[in-house]
């Protein structure tokens, strides 16, 4: 058996390369812990909804009670008219609205069918399902509660969407694929760029030339921006022309916003490159940075479900969160860039921070 010496040698090499060890062993642990902390406690975390109780009867208030106990949603606003409720959804203050029509209590008491109206923000792919489920469970609980007194009553759920109603699946996934395209891809590519020069030895000759750190960083950023913008235009073009994806907001605003996000991704990638010793490390770091963004930026689940610890420490510091929010708003809701000025500012600040750090930390020396 010659396998044993190889096992020993491999283990020795693994232990002597602490950075790789960190990647291989610590990364899954860290991610699992983040995931657990982020999504572990479910009771607190819920989507905000508005409730309009137009009925104002005793039974309708009992139903509102059930709604507030329903898992996954949390009534945060109580309004007097349907228009107000829908407006809150449209402005993104709440994820959905539940409207209890006039005559709700009366209909039940007379043994007639009753219904509630649910208006959801379909610009987020998870919202409709979550809210429907919550309302369904509230209706079930409500029916159970009144069955002794009024017998079995049928309560229908009438669903409407804002920014819908017929959002195609691909339209829901376009922001996600654009997020990947404008983030993971350029970030990984540019993160290799300086390490590659170091690893292949070309850096020694390059920094001998009369150029400054600005020249190196800006030159590389510009080149990768051109490539990624072309890539983005192509992808968006295919989505629109071949798959009929609709962009409700102004196209120029969408492109401007995307370009800003791209600059942020590239600056972050550049920072990774400046800090990494070799290409493998840069690649590992890019992926390591990307995983929490994937988990906690609203791609796989609404951010309201994330525990405050992770939400404030990770979600609100990742560019992806602001991109998903802004891009969805412009593309699916038809907002303009002015409506997403907060997201623009967040991305802008991050870009400046990453860029400045990259410039400051780039070593114009060897060793």
């Amino acid at each position: 058996m010659r396998i044993w010496p190889i096992i020993v040698k491999e283990l020795k090499q693994l232990v002597r390369d602490p950075r790789s060890l960190l990647m291989n062993v610590a990364m899954p642990l860290i991610i699992m812990v983040m995931f657990g902390v982020g999504y572990g406690e479910t009771s607190e975390n819920a989507l905000p909804v508005a409730v309009a109780n137009l009925d104002q009867g005793d039974l309708s208030w009992a139903f509102v009670d059930e709604l507030s106990k329903a898992p996954g949603i949390k009534p945060t606003c109580y309004v007097g008219t349907e228009e107000e409720a829908v407006d809150l959804v449209r402005k993104g203050k709440v994820r959905g609205a539940i409207i209890i029509p006039e005559g709700f209590s009366e209909n039940i008491k007379q043994g007639k069918d009753a219904y509630v109206k649910v208006v959801v923000d379909a610009a987020d792919p998870f919202t409709p399902a979550v809210i429907n489920q919550a309302v369904t469970s509230a209706i079930y609980g409500f029916q159970l509660g009144i069955s002794e007194q009024y017998g079995a009553v049928s309560i229908r759920m009438q669903q409407e969407t804002v920014y819908g109603p017929s959002l195609k699946r691909i339209e829901n996934f376009t922001p996600i694929s654009m997020g990947l395209l404008l983030h993971l891809v350029p970030m990984t590519l540019i993160s290799l760029s300086i390490c590659r020069e170091r690893e292949r030895g070309t850096y020694e000759q390059l920094i001998m030339a009369p150029i400054s750190r600005w020249d190196i960083i800006n030159g590389k950023l510009a080149a990768y921006t051109i490539v990624s913008m072309a890539n983005m235009l192509g992808t968006l073009g295919i989505a629109i022309m071949a798959f009929g994806v609709r962009v409700k907001g102004p196209m120029v605003d969408l492109l401007l916003f995307s370009a800003l996000f791209l600059m942020c991704s590239l600056s972050l990638g550049m920072l990774v490159s400046v800090l990494s010793r070799n290409q493998l490390q840069a690649l590992g770091t890019s992926i390591f940075l990307f995983i929490p963004e994937l988990l906690f930026s609203g791609i796989i689940s609404p951010v309201e479900y994330i525990s405050p610890v992770i939400r404030y420490s990770i979600t609100y510091t990742t560019p992806m969160y602001y991109f998903m929010k802004g891009f969805r708003a412009i593309m699916l809701r038809g907002w303009t860039i002015v409506d997403v000025v907060e997201e623009c500012m967040a991305l802008g600040i991050m870009t400046v921070v990453y860029f400045t750090l990259a410039i400051v930390l780039l070593r114009m020396r060897l060793g």
């Binding site: 030895g201 070309t202 920094i207 030339a209 009369p210 150029i211 020396r365 060897l366």
Partner: protein, 312 residues
């Protein structure tokens, strides 16, 4: 302003002192060699001169500019060829040269002509559209040298330009270097080949991070042996050993060969050329018949081995 001035330069990496208190100056138009075995600190010294490393202590000046502080100002005066190929393997020969020509701001109108000139001079014309990664070792080396010269720098620094290339190309390279020197360029070249070092006008010899000798190749040999050697063949009925040491000009001697009454001796004198005739006269005055006398050629390698004790 002297092209290169090093004053008490030390470079420490973690627990290793790579360069230890080294001082030397390179004069304008000189072909200066930095000689030493691997690990002597030659590359580290060169990188500090280029501004690629910051000295732990001491001062490095290039044309009066302080390195690495004035790196950008001074870099256009330096043509640098690192030890390992460090151009872009995924660019062609021409593209690599053009890239560096533009980085060094060679005026657009001159660029083409300058590159063509260098392609011609370094026999690269036929490879101009080949990717650098596809070139053979020797061709890569020529490309690296051509690229280092693309901005016509007054100071050229070459780190082991000839290590691992065939003798023919080595010869060619040294011809290039001498041509460059004749055109007025200052050259600093590191090598561990003793035979090459003979071509340098002045040498600094390094060992284990320290400068152990400096001067012309002849001065270094002289210093190593504490003099120069004469080879004498004499016919003598008596043994001359007794009075050889009493002679004023002879510091030491060794019998190389004894054949009856014919002896071949190596004599250590101060200056082989100057002392030849006086020594000849004195030997004859003492009644010895001198059959032949000539200076012994000592190679730098012999000198180096005696300087370093032969072990490294």
């Amino acid at each position: 302003m002297k092209p290169i001035v090093l004053k008490n330069v030390t470079k420490r990496f973690a627990d290793v002192v790579a360069v230890n208190d080294v001082s030397f100056e390179v004069e304008e138009g000189e072909l200066f060699g930095l000689l030493g075995p691997n690990g002597a600190g030659k590359t580290t010294t060169i990188r500090m001169i280029c501004g690629l490393l910051r000295p732990t202590a001491g001062i490095v000046r290039v044309f009066g500019y302080l390195q690495p502080r004035d790196r950008i100002k001074v870099s256009r005066f330096i043509g640098y060829m690192p030890q390992h190929f460090s151009l872009y393997e995924d660019l062609t020969v021409y593209e690599n040269m053009e890239f560096y020509a533009s980085l060094y701001r060679v005026p657009y109108s001159l660029r083409r002509r300058r590159i063509e000139e260098l392609l011609d001079r370094f026999l690269l014309s036929e490879f101009r559209n080949k990717l650098a990664g596809e070139l053979s070792g020797g061709t890569k080396r020529r490309l690296a040298l051509a690229t280092a010269l693309v901005h016509n720098p007054p100071l050229v620094i070459l780190d082991e330009p000839t290590s691992g290339i065939d003798p023919h190309l080595r010869y060619l390279f040294w011809k290039f270097f001498e041509e460059l020197r004749d055109e007025g360029t200052t050259l600093l070249i590191t090598t561990h080949y003793m035979d090459e070092a003979e071509f340098c006008e002045r040498l600094a010899v390094m060992r284990l991070g320290r400068l152990i000798a400096m001067g012309t190749p002849r001065e270094i040999k002289k210093m190593a042996l504490k003099g120069e050697l004469l080879k004498v063949r004499i016919k003598s009925p008596v043994s001359p050993e007794r009075f050889l040491l009493s002679m004023k000009r002879i510091k030491d001697f060794r019998v190389l060969e004894r054949n009856g009454d014919e002896l071949t001796l190596a004599l250590l004198v101060e200056d082989a050329e100057e002392d030849l005739v006086p020594v000849l006269r004195e030997l004859e005055m003492r009644g010895l018949k001198v059959l032949a006398i000539s200076p012994i050629y000592v190679s730098l390698e012999d000198a180096f081995l005696s300087l370093t004790g032969g072990l490294d």
